[in-house]
């Protein structure tokens, strides 16, 4: 894995917002194919900003992001062909059915010739109930929405996946199911960058875990290293430590 070219790479990435807040401070990270990288951190630590920068939603102040070796700031449209995104509250069109949502986002992701059965298969794969396939999503539970969100990522079949706190608010069963799907995607060779508050699940799924504090990546550990360290203790110690800017 070490010899592979990273599919997701942040290089000296900083972001200072117009109001002067330094949201991200010279971050460097890499995620390779078949790897799950979990970004841990409190609210405002810079996790979502990192993902926003990867998606070119906001311009970086310094540094850049690469997706599949493509500079996101220089060629965002080409770079975004190689990435899927699932957010905390999966954003869907409430008046559309699950299949219609999937169809719309699949087409935006460049998959134009899929038939109804192809959509059904993906929804079955994420264990969405059959009866929900043609139901409007406005009445879906958070777990169902999350499943549909990951279906959208699966159907796009991009080599990299960005997940912004995808398990937040999910019940334990739904969260566990979600992680199972992530493990499958990892098995398919996807590079997955996931921001999360959930230390336990980060330890469970993450091949590498990074802890962010006040916009900095203050620690990074591999799965092997974490076998001998207590991630919970490390995380809490970092959170309790003095502010970095003080």
């Amino acid at each position: 894995m070490e010899n592979q070219k990273p599919l997701l790479r942040a290089e000296d990435l900083s972001k200072r917002y117009e109001d002067g807040v330094l949201a991200l401070d010279h971050i460097n990270l890499e995620v390779r194919a078949g790897e799950v990288y979990c970004l841990l951190g409190a609210n405002g630590a810079g996790k979502t900003t990192t993902i926003n920068l990867f998606l070119n939603f906001i311009p970086p102040t310094t540094g850049t992001c690469y997706i599949n070796g493509i500079d996101v700031t220089k060629d965002p449209l080409e770079a975004k062909k190689y990435v899927s995104f699932v957010s905390e509250n999966v954003m869907l069109y409430g008046n559309f059915t699950a299949r219609q949502n999937l169809d719309f986002f699949a087409k935006l992701g460049g998959k134009r010739d899929l038939d109804k059965e192809a959509y059904y298969q993906v929804m079955r794969r994420v264990s969405l109930q059959e009866k929900a396939f043609e139901q409007r999503v406005k009445n879906f539970s958070k777990g169902m929405r999350q499943k549909l969100g990951i279906s959208i990522a699966i159907i796009k079949d991009a080599p990299a996946v960005l997940l912004d706190e995808p398990t937040a608010g999910l019940d334990p069963k739904a969260a566990e199911e979600f992680l199972e799907i992530l493990a499958e995607l990892r098995g398919e060779g996807k590079a997955i960058l996931m921001s999360t508050h959930d230390i336990f699940r980060a330890k469970e799924i993450g091949d590498r875990v990074g802890i962010m504090k006040e916009g900095r990546l203050v620690m990074e550990r591999s799965r092997e290293e974490l076998q001998y360290e207590d991630l919970v203790k490390i995380y809490i110690d970092y959170m309790k430590s003095e502010p970095l800017t003080a």
């Binding site: 926003n52 998606l55 939603f57 906001i58 311009p59 449209l77 080409e78 975004k80 062909k81 990435v83 899927s84 995104f85 957010s87 509250n89 999966v90 954003m91 869907l92 069109y93 008046n95 559309f96 219609q100 719309f104 986002f105 087409k107 935006l108 992701g109 460049g110 959208i152 796009k156 960005l162």
Partner: protein
């Protein structure tokens, strides 16, 4: 990609609770407005035909002694505009007829006198519906076209794909607009079918072309308001903020600017009322006539002296011949003086009116609503151009009647130095049955469009500017 976004926008609108409501408003109100105005038009045409018949009957019984007595008035009627079924414009405000006499022309009553008190609030016609109802609904539809997706987060999901933002914006505007335009188009078509089922001359002259222009202009007007809504929506982060801003913009453009500009123009270029001007003209004419009568009386007494009764009755006498020459010279001079001075009053009044109207129109064109209403009214023959054509036709008819009828009778009034007055008449033969007929030349469609270049520029500006602002705002938007 663009097709996918357009389709999604159309479907999203169609599935929303607002769509059936909007479709219902369109399908009920637009054909109803057209049909009701068609009924009113038919009534006006019936009245017009009857009144013209009566006026022709009265004209055929005119006797020369009535002309000599100055009691003859001839009426010229304006035929109601066929396309007033789409917009009333000045239709109800214009006089139904003018009265022509030796003293000049005088306007008759307008047809607004026949209407119910409800018309004070503005008649529901096609243009009113588009200006006041459809434009507002268009803005409301557009209020969350971008802000709604920002707020819901679906914009993040969309833009996480390889999707150029300009395509997203164009797709959203095109799709949202299409969802509005289809029910509007269907409603318009129903309205036209209803007209066709009645006695409306749907295929007469250039009527199809004019109806097409009405439809296209209304479509553009809707697009303007939808794009304006999208502009606000692209600038706001929340749909509610966008909605409030949109309502303020609508009120400003629809209600405030059109009224304010008229008031401003009236303050900058005050214009006297028609009655004031008419009174001034008639006082001046009376004073000049009196002066002429006094001059004629004085000259008459100088020529005929004390024995005026005898020699004045002999047309071959040298005094009579001299008197004829002097009288003609005085009357000619008086006519020229009167025409010059009355003309000056009229010219000053017209200048004032033109200045006021030009300013009011130019200021009002700041609002797309005014530009739209002005253009449609002129295309439908109920606008400013029709009013101008009407008054020009009235002046031309008065001139024609003066030449063919009124000038054939000479009426000489004299006031002698001793205060006595006398009146004499002379008349030339007149073909009463073949007097000129009153008619108004309709403004050709091409001229109506040419005269409305400012309206077209205003509409083009309002179409491009909001899109440009929306484009810039959306392109620089930081997705968070």
């Amino acid at each position: 990609m663009l097709k996918t976004i357009i389709k999604k926008e159309v479907l999203e609108n169609v599935f929303s609770y607002r769509f059936p409501l909007f479709a219902l408003i369109c399908v009920v109100l637009i054909p109803l407005g057209i049909a009701v105005n068609n009924l009113a038009f038919n009534k006006r045409v019936k009245d017009y035909s009857e009144q013209v018949r009566l006026a022709n009957e009265a004209a055929s019984t005119i006797q020369m002694q009535d002309v000599m007595a100055g009691t003859v008035t001839i009426k010229g009627f304006r035929r109601p505009s066929v396309l007033s079924v789409f917009t009333q414009g000045f239709e109800s405000a214009l006089p139904r007829f003018y009265e022509f006499s030796q003293q000049g022309y005088k306007q008759g009553e307008s047809s607004s006198g026949d209407e119910s008190i409800l018309s004070v609030q503005g008649r529901i016609d096609f243009v009113f519906l588009i200006q006041m109802v459809i434009s507002l609904i268009g803005l409301l539809f557009a209020s969350d076209v971008i802000a709604g997706e920002k707020e819901a987060g679906t914009l993040r999901a969309m833009l996480s794909n390889s999707l150029p933002r300009d395509k997203v914006l164009i797709g959203k505007i095109a799709g949202g607009y299409l969802a509005l335009w289809v029910p509007f188009g269907v409603a318009f078509l129903i309205g036209i079918i209803l007209l066709g089922l009645g006695s409306f001359p749907l295929f007469g002259g250039d009527i199809p072309a004019r109806i097409l222009i009405v439809f296209l202009t209304a479509s553009v007007f809707m697009l303007i308001y939808f794009t304006m809504g999208a502009m606000v929506s692209a600038s706001a982060s929340k749909a509610r903020t966008s909605l409030v801003a949109i309502l303020l913009i609508w009120a400003f453009l629809q209600l405030i600017i059109p009224k304010l500009t008229d008031m401003l123009a009236a303050i900058v270029h005050p214009v006297r009322t028609e009655t004031e001007v008419s009174l001034e003209k008639s006082l001046l004419a009376k004073s000049l006539d009196t002066e002429t009568a006094k001059e004629l009386g004085r000259q008459y007494d100088l020529i005929f002296g004390a024995g005026r009764e005898g020699t004045a009755n002999d047309p071959e006498s040298p005094e009579s011949k001299k008197w004829e020459g002097v009288k003609n010279e005085i009357e000619q001079r008086a006519r020229e003086r009167k025409s010059q001075q009355v003309g000056k009053i009229e010219e000053t009044y017209e200048q004032q009116k033109r200045r006021y109207q030009n300013l009011a129109v130019n200021l009002s064109l700041v609002s797309p609503s005014s530009a739209f209403a002005r253009l449609i009214a002129d295309v439908c023959g109920t606008g400013e151009l029709e009013r101008t054509q009407y008054i020009e036709a009235v002046r031309a008819h008065q001139k024609a009647l003066d030449n063919e009828l009124f000038s054939k009778v000479k009426r000489t009034a004299m006031i002698h130095p001793d205060g006595k007055t006398s009146l004499s008449f002379s008349a030339m033969p007149v073909d009463i049955q073949n007097l000129p007929k009153f008619s108004i030349t309709a403004t050709p469609l091409a001229d109506a469009m040419k005269e409305n270049w400012q309206s077209l520029v205003s509409l083009a500006f309002w179409l491009i500017a909001p899109f440009a602002v929306a484009y810039v705002q959306f392109l620089k938007y930081d997705v968070r």
